[in-house]
Amino acid sequence: MAGAMTAIPQAEVKKRANIEVLRTLEQEKEVVFDTQNLNLWYGEKHALRDINLDIHEEEVTAIIGPSGCGKSTYLKTLNRMVELVPSVRTTGVIQYKGKSIFDKSLRVEELRTQVGMVFQKPNPFPKSIYENIAYGPKIHGIRNKMILDEIVEKSLRGAYIWDEVKDRLHDNAYGLSGGQQQRLCIARCLAIEPDVILMDEPTSALDPKSTLKVEELIRELKKDYAIVIVTHNMQQASRISDRTAFFLDGEVVEYDRTDVIFNEPTDQRTEDYINGRFG
């Protein structure tokens, strides 16, 4: 017995124990989105091929890959926004909390209330800051002014923009800077109290300072939400995400924990991409 014990070096024991810890941690985080063999066509164009991906609760999942590889398409499939393009056809399964999102009984409006989205370009409505935030709750039937006031403040605080706008809530949202507009859009998304937030290159139109603010915000938000973020910025992916999926030509080349993807990727193409050798 003792002999067997010593046969395994101390370091190896430690490493295995660490892996065990990681495994259990992994098990704790529930899967919110379970994608199986997803294929998607825009007319004749095969944009997503056999995608298999799990998105986990309370984690940031980054999607990286060269332009045109299908990142936005995949993201928009998760809340079925992609269906706004009439030529789109999909096969395969996506389960949201165990229920197929393509099921006939599922209403897209309900799905989109639970799965919020922040777009690449800040896209506030041409309304006041207040009205931008209150829009979501209002369309879901909340009319009480006091409740709305509360939601507006809570959401703006949640997106760390409250202090900058609290004195101008009834001014036009277009008067805000690009970075503020993007955080306003995040706040607008928080106002419908989703479970998952999809972000498509949320910082690509922002300066470094606003970018850091949004990143900080994302780190804060993942305590309560599952976040999926598309980004072209490798540092950003490694800074804020727990898992990273590398897309190439509509396929998932590699999907793993972010530190694995960035430190010891198994696929040569992943390594080339994150080191800036192509894409």
């Binding site: 809340n79 926004m81 706004l84 009439p86 409006e109 309900e110 799905l111 989109r112 209330t113 919020g116 989205m117 777009f119 370009k121 896209n123 506030p124 409505f125 041409p126 309304k127 829009y135 979501g136 369309i139 879901h140 036009n172 277009y174 859009c185 607008r188 998304c189 419908i192």
Partner: protein, 294 residues
Amino acid sequence: MKYVDAVQVQKRMNFRLIVNTIAKIIFFLSTVFGLVVLGILIYRVFSDGIGWINMDFLTGKLSTDPEKAGILGAILGTLWLMVVVAPVTMFFGVGTAIYLELYAKKGKLRSFIQTNIANLAGVPSIVYGILGMTVFVRALDMGNIVLAGGLTMSLLILPITIVASQEAIRAVPNHLGEASYGLGATKWQTIKNIILPAALPGILTGAILSLSRAIGETAPLVVIGIPALLIPFPGSIFDKFTVLPMQIYYWTLDSSLVEEYAYLASATIIILLLVLLLLNTTAIIIRNKFQKRY
């Protein structure tokens, strides 16, 4: 060697600047042309007609005697006509535009409808008069009342309103609608709260232009059979009526018999222009009110 050679650039610069100036002059002249013609028209109309405008003219009944003739009936007729035309055109025009732009599947049927609407905009107005006569006056047995005339006019300006509204809806950036759908809004909520308000200024601009057309149009009403003279003032959309441009038409027609009729026609044109101005200003104020929200 540089492709953009500084010497060559210098040489061509004079020429380029001259062309630049010529372009400006051409566009200025085309504006002047319109303004001059309009100026002459307005000058003639005003010098002929302004002397004939007084309270009696504005509030009087129609009469064969030029000294007694008034046009209150025609003013009221025009206003009542608008009471029918404006809402009917806006409802069906904007409704059709919304359907075509936001609901109808892009395909053969849609482009067939689209082409036909564009063609209808070019059909002579008298054809609409014949249609109105057949359908509203005869088949539905309305008689030549405001409602029948208004519906006919609405048909006439519907194609323009539809096309203009479609343009306005198409000009609303996609990302606004997407933002709304992304929050779980239904299609109708998105249209009502986001797309229509953003398109409204453009829609109203189209509506203003087409309503102005309806105010000035005569041919369809001639076909429907608008009485030339002496009717009681219209008090609702179910009364018989005449309108300002019809009055101008009849007076101009008969000016070879009674010389003063020509002046009455000019005076009526002035009033018509004022009514147009009034309606357009109202519409523009409404439009600007909506534009300010952004």
